[in-house]
Symmetry: C2
Subunit: 206 residues, 2 copies
């Protein structure tokens, strides 16, 4: 005999346990929580997941997720379309937006070149980026990818593809994190930050 | 400006983060996972949660969750209705069912007496248990609650309410866990296990 006394519960547990990082035990705990709480909590959750998955779109310009054909960043006339920031996924967009320091637009690659995971340039939104840069002729493309080997590979590949487009190709600054103590910094970062030293005026907050 | 580029995503994240142990960051990770995967995964999850919450019932006899008025344990003619096992919640039912060692029926209290959390006897399915024992006249009621102070309090309260019912009132055996080494056992458990020593024949697996 199955130890679930309810097929409905069993189904919900099975579906919840498909989520990453959620095993059968956690899934059961979540399902029982939803059963214990008022009905609307489970119903609204279910409906919002269905609505999100059925109605959400990807912005035709930058591949950000969006409720309309063009996302509200691309559609905002106050954003500087001469500056395109290339990021891995939409979490990076959120992180950069939260800084309040960026006023350009984005291009979401949807991942990073990683041969070990079988992800090559054709699995990412790189062709659309090359086409977009060719058509829109932005002044600058800033690559904001992870500072890992995969990030470096992707940066290098993007640079090769974009260097003749006329746009200036930059990457986000790398160096010692603000608040870090030098003695604990890793030697690669510290070494690079000495090589790439910058005028003191640039570090004064404007 | 809000850092979510989509209202639909924001809603889903808000609803997911109501679940226990799931914060905004995890909720966002789950929502993005659902967006990345094929549509049916999110849709089926949503639908199964809605169906579970709208259709599941509590068994009228034992308060176990059930797809029908009477759960499939109470409805099973092979179960021994002369033996009622009182547990805290349905996870305990599953745990006991998984042992394959129990053939009686259950009664789910829906919690445990815990003054610190504001849970008194009237918040639990204790009245229905007293009524059920009076009506069905089982031979034995075995209390399988946690071996905590709250569990002991609840056991004592149940004992007081049931002792004149004619049923034998028992609790699950307490002692050294199977596989445990004596030197690491806590002294309360060890002391009690010496006081409550049992005939060797009882320990031989049948």
């Amino acid at each position: 005999m199955n130890s679930y006394s309810s097929k409905l519960l069993e189904e919900a547990v099975n579906e919840l346990s498909r989520l990453p990082g959620i095993g059968k035990k956690t899934a059961l705990r979540l399902a029982l929580y939803l059963l214990k709480k008022d009905k609307p909590i489970a119903i609204t959750l279910g409906e919002s997941l269905i609505r999100m998955r059925s109605e959400i779109q990807f912005c035709k310009k930058c591949y950000n997720i969006s409720d309309a054909e063009i996302c509200n960043i691309c559609a905002n006339p106050k954003r500087n379309t001469d500056l395109i920031c290339v990021v891995e996924d939409i979490r990076d967009v959120m992180a950069i937006e939260n800084t309040g320091q960026y006023n350009g637009v984005y291009h979401i690659l949807g991942g990073i070149i990683s041969p070990i995971d079988g992800i090559g340039p054709n699995d990412l939104n790189i062709e659309p980026l090359v086409k977009r840069v060719g058509e829109d002729q932005p002044q600058e493309v800033v690559m904001a990818l992870s500072t890992t080997i995969e990030g470096d590979t992707t940066n290098f590949y993007l640079f090769k593809r974009l260097k003749d487009s006329g746009a200036k190709i930059t990457t986000i600054a790398r160096g010692i994190s603000i608040g870090d103590e030098l003695e604990y910094a890793d030697e690669v970062t510290l070494g690079r930050s000495i090589l790439n030293r910058m005028p003191y005026e640039n570090t004064i907050e404007r």
